[in-house]
Symmetry: D3
């Protein structure tokens, strides 16, 4: 019922956007781009961010049916819901996996004829990891509950905390990343980034009982390795060290270049940790600390004269 | 019209995800979690983030009908719109309040038989605060308009500024927090956090004419007390001081542990203010300053050798 | 099928929210606000954030049909899609432009009788810039691909990177800003801000081949001028310097007050650059640097004793 | 999550529909049609069936808020709902009225400059008739309740009976028809026809307490005049008599050519009543009767040897 | 993106519908109606046609998952789908049952305190009948397939034939009718009536292997009793005989007044069968026949001099 | 915002539907049905009524863009709309064609390996017929306009008349029927049947300038052949004659068994025409006539003593 009288009509102006010219110029711009890259006859066959958003939401329901599933679910019908949702979601994921495999094949100019079978196997393997993944996420929820004095229940943590949203996405994305599906993994990571302000590269390896509080501005790089029971606060960076100014800044892809954070480490808000250094077990890194060398287990690093803190 | 041929059919692969096993393992994982916590016969009865998002959007329309209400509203029918929307929205809120009260009763193992009546009273009291809340929000809009030289009108401020979005959510969430509904309050706060990158704990007490510019990365803790006419910039933290490294980090819940910011204070981007300290009336805290002790009224604190600034 | 039994009915409580009083008090609050500002007979005639979100999404499809257009598009029907989508989208934009022009006329109390014609011309001019805008965005995509060793293809960059989302929004918003439509421009900028955590004022002038990595917390001010081939990391601020503490902080509107960043500059995460200073061509600014004076071309600025880095 | 792999891709067929030719031929067909009728530069400015469907649904809620309004409405907030819905719906109707007036002006090649004002007045007059229309509909509901021994309550009648749906639509459509808006009226009549199988021309004049049982196949012509307390069953036709075979069949438009049915008449299923005849007060017409001459008050007309009946 | 400039604004007319008066008059009309019936403090608590439409659609999927369930279902996950859908649908039905029971209690002014338990039991009993109901519907599908020479497969019958749509709705509605829920039953019957033009009262008793071809205009009354393997064509009426003209037409409610149709009867298009007569086993009733007396088994009744037929 | 408190919770009843048993019994019912028919490992691969409804709606827009296309279309961008919509719609149709071909192959147990190619060719051929189909539909619209004295314009006819809706669906369905896609054709015919009450078998052959007035209850059989400029009224049957009572009623499939109606024939409401008879050119068949033998050109057939008529 919200239609309005067309502006053109009510103003007595017969609108005509002269589209033929603009459409032609846009076509030229596309053709030029494609010629440079030797592309033609292209198709729009690419994994879909919207589809992956739905898939992740459905997997959240599969993993935590009575908390992230439909509002009116009851324990007596949980298994029906889980099975039905898994069946639909794995089909949907199968298509996305297939689209990435086909896309990789086009990029690498290799044949795609066994991609249907490969996609099917990858999805089956991914599905098999879900029960274990649920257990690890339980440890994360428990860690958040214990790590935040304001948390009243594990339910509140699961439903409210952006750090939990981020780690659920990460653990699902990381499983796809390890399965050779970096694009799906990246899209999922960016969905979490947009929703939480927490930017975890799907390649990062993270142990159980992990907790990020507040979270906005956290960046964790591709080759970071994080142990068990680690806790981070907002605006922490686990990044790569750049070469000294003046040199060519191109890093060789895939080399370990981000920090190793051992078990039971706490890193307070705004701390920047750069390069393939090791934060030893049980160390504490204070707020706003800038760190580019390894730290011994049990150390407490703070800015000169300041105590560390967080909100 | 976007259906596609099922991947399985077109590939000649008869997909079968072997769901029985996975569903069973997921059930075991859930059961183990529930046994540890002594839970059984659970229901999915929990306040809903999606419902609260709709409720807040509707209350925004109730508070500012010609700016945040429906596009085609006119002044002559404002009251009908306000009354109709309130009626529906308070009913919707009543359900969410009831869900939180029932949840609290399950957590505390106390009877829930008077929750229907309690919920009704809480919602009625909440509704009664809306006119006063509108007046305070008017002062916030005015403060934003005066505080940002780029703002062309109060309408632009109300429609565009993430800091205004954050404070509307906060003032509604804070009212629920004070009514004994911390979970609803927290969910609303996290909705604003996700949309704006501004993380204000619903327990924080904030005076009128409050303005946050840019806002991404701001964190304000649960027991913070902020006076009137205060202005913050992006990435400001009003947090809790941690105990010195080496001690047990567990804070006693509910103790005042975040800063008191008196009237007319300005805190520039990236400043970190920690602990139950007081920033005296009219003080200015420069960008990136790290502050863990009280500051006298009228002070101007800056990083050594640097002037404060903001975008 | 998700209807539930009304809470009131099932509890035996006949709910009545006493709305007449609350509606009346809300009306008083509105009237008071309007009297102060001399407003009456108001209409809800204001550009719509939801409409602009749809318009931008459609323009993304127009600019990159096989990447950001509908999933099932093929090269053979691209022009039909582009033309049809442009026709609808320019009509939709026409309405928004008209709403801003009429709003400006109400604010300035000037006649609006030629707004229909002005709006039509502005939209036609905007449409004519789209082909060139596509070419500049191609350079941004290329820059992101070359600037991030983790990027596997230009497609991945276009679909996943928040920095690309931000620059597409900015270039469209900037075109509207220059056309005298600051409100539409601002709303579009805030849409990108909410989605990416990157806050670029639509007035900022940015050369081709621009790239922001990670991006959360970046703030770029209204009068900033950025050259070609510039690269920024997360939490970089290009802001305005404030006058020394104690003076009146009101800046004169429109004066150049944000940095000039020349070609080929790189600014690492967390750096704060304030005031109308110039970062000379090819300079590198290290992480967390605080900078309020100009820097010569080719300089490498770092925090004392620290190397710059990023995630 | 229901995307599928594109058929073309999975089959290895690069689909290309050769659209340019088909699009061109369709354009030629349109041009030929338009040339014959002297039309060019046409616009799609026509009342919308979808919009009118929404408008009628909303007016049903306005007329019977606790039966046809939103599920969760309560008596204490009825007026807010009615006022808010009327405000939106009259605006929506205003647009449709304007579209018909402009369309009439284009057809008749007369100026449309006062259509905005005319439309506004017509809608205001239409709105003023709604309270009286509600009272007449109450009499129809009462008649259905009394006329059907199976009806358990007036509520059941209002919610379930297709005859009631048809008469609500008719009374609204007839008001528009009398206001000089035959196209809007016709579209509304056809909405009811599609939903109920009852085809009442909006020009037909029908007294209060009217009831159609079952209804499928009923046809009532444009100039029919029906008194008070009349009851019809399924497949009754109140039609126009055709001239004898062999003559030219064109009827002069607008001449009275359908039956007059006086008060308290009952017409059973399948009866066909043709021409400008009069069925006298209190008469009963039996099932399947074929009637082309007037009938005295109180008569009982049946097929030879058969009793009348209905389901 | 389909917003338009408000008609009022573009025309320079400040629209004001003078709603207060109309809203008041509508309230008076409602009050008058309610006073006559002694109603006040009413609530909108009534079964919902939209909810029942969804419930029936879901039950169709439960009964025929691979034909009327979701497009991408596979046999290997049928049970999960069936169980999950049943769980949600029975909850939804429970609410509708509760609403009818409460409504009946209000009508009859009896206490409603055990309605929650009664509703639960009724739904459980209804659910238990579904497997048997599926078997009967299988016989209907088989009868349609065998009865129509044009039918190519049982699948086509299930998906295309309005007669099948009608009988599925009827068998579900009849189960609710027998459970003491006549209003839910009636609403479901009218949903089918609107979709197919076939009007079967939910009280009618119909044996297995029932088939209606074409169907538009069929009416079957409340107390009709139909045997096994019966076939009807379009516009057949199984109705009640009216008393002779001149008498009072009120029938005593609930008395058997519609025909008994024994096994293996065929009734061709347009036939009208009225009153509590019996069509004997295996009889054939020709097209357009008007029948008000019983017919012996095996009879063939036709209009004088005409053969019976159908489309 | 319409969530309600779960009935179960508010009533204190812990609902548990005992689904395992019911799900198992439903599985048994399905298995029994499948065993009888030798089916197993079934898939839900069947043309979709919902998809075909969307396809037909889109083709209506393609054929009549300024009348049945989007509200805001203008002549200057018609071709873009037509081309874009055709591209999407033919893709969608391709899938439905493929589903029918695969289904036919499963039914006939023949290989399906060239179905992808066949489907593509069938859709291309179908697309090529659209321009000619538009011209024939123009003649139908013209016929309706001339045939109904109440019609004010061809636009009104196209937008309002159910007879036009029916013939558009029929001409599209007939083209698919002739292409060997009887199931798609049938589904489309039933969509029109549900919307208009007009039941035209897609096999019927109908010449140009065809018009059905009112239409409810019209049935036209599979082998009917209708010439040019034919006009029908409501409840007309063009059906098959049944063999005399007592014989076996099974008709041999595909034999011509429905009437031939030559050019310029008019058949008034309720007439029943049965068997492979011929209604000669220019004949008129009166209302309610029952006709089972051929009629000479120019004849006028009426019921004894009655004139024909219509609403």
């Amino acid at each position: 019922m919200n239609d309005r009288l067309p502006a053109a009509a009510s103003d007595g102006i017969q609108q005509d956007w002269q589209l033929t010219g603009i459409v032609g110029q846009l076509r030229e711009a596309r053709q030029q781009w494609r010629q440079i890259r030797g592309r033609s006859g292209e198709v729009r066959e690419f994994p879909s961010r919207a589809a992956l958003r739905d898939i992740i939401a459905a997997l959240c329901g599969v993993l935590f049916p009575l908390r992230l599933g439909p509002t009116d679910l009851r324990e007596s019908s949980e298994d029906f819901y889980v099975g039905h949702t898994l069946a639909r979601t794995l089909d949907a994921l199968l298509l996305q996996v297939r689209l990435e495999l086909d896309y990789q094949a086009r990029l690498d100019a290799v044949p795609a004829h066994d991609n249907a079978l490969r996609a099917s196997r990858l999805v089956q393997q991914f599905a098999a990891t879900l029960p274990a993944l649920r257990r690890v996420l339980d440890s994360d929820v428990q860690a958040a509950y214990q790590g935040d004095p304001a948390a009243r229940s594990v339910d509140e943590v699961l439903l409210c905390y952006p750090g939990i949203t981020a780690i659920i996405h990460h653990r699902l994305a990381h499983a796809l990343y390890r399965a050779g599906l970096p694009l799906l993994a990246r899209i999922i990571a960016e969905i979490a980034h947009a929703d939480t302000g927490i930017d975890i590269h799907p390649g990062a390896s993270i142990g159980d009982s992990f907790f990020i509080d507040h979270g906005t501005g956290v960046v964790i790089g591709e080759t970071a390795v994080i142990g068990r029971h680690v806790r981070l606060y907002q605006a922490v960076t686990l990044g790569a060290k750049r070469f000294p100014p003046g040199e060519d800044g191109v890093l060789q892809k895939g080399l370990p270049r981000h920090p190793i954070v051992e078990d039971d480490v706490v890193i307070y808000a705004g701390a920047t940790v750069l390069g393939r250094i090791t934060i030893g077990r049980g160390a504490t890194i204070g707020g706003n600390v800038w760190l580019t060398r390894s730290v011994a287990p049990g150390s407490h690093i703070t800015q000169a004269g300041l105590q560390h803190g967080s909100g």
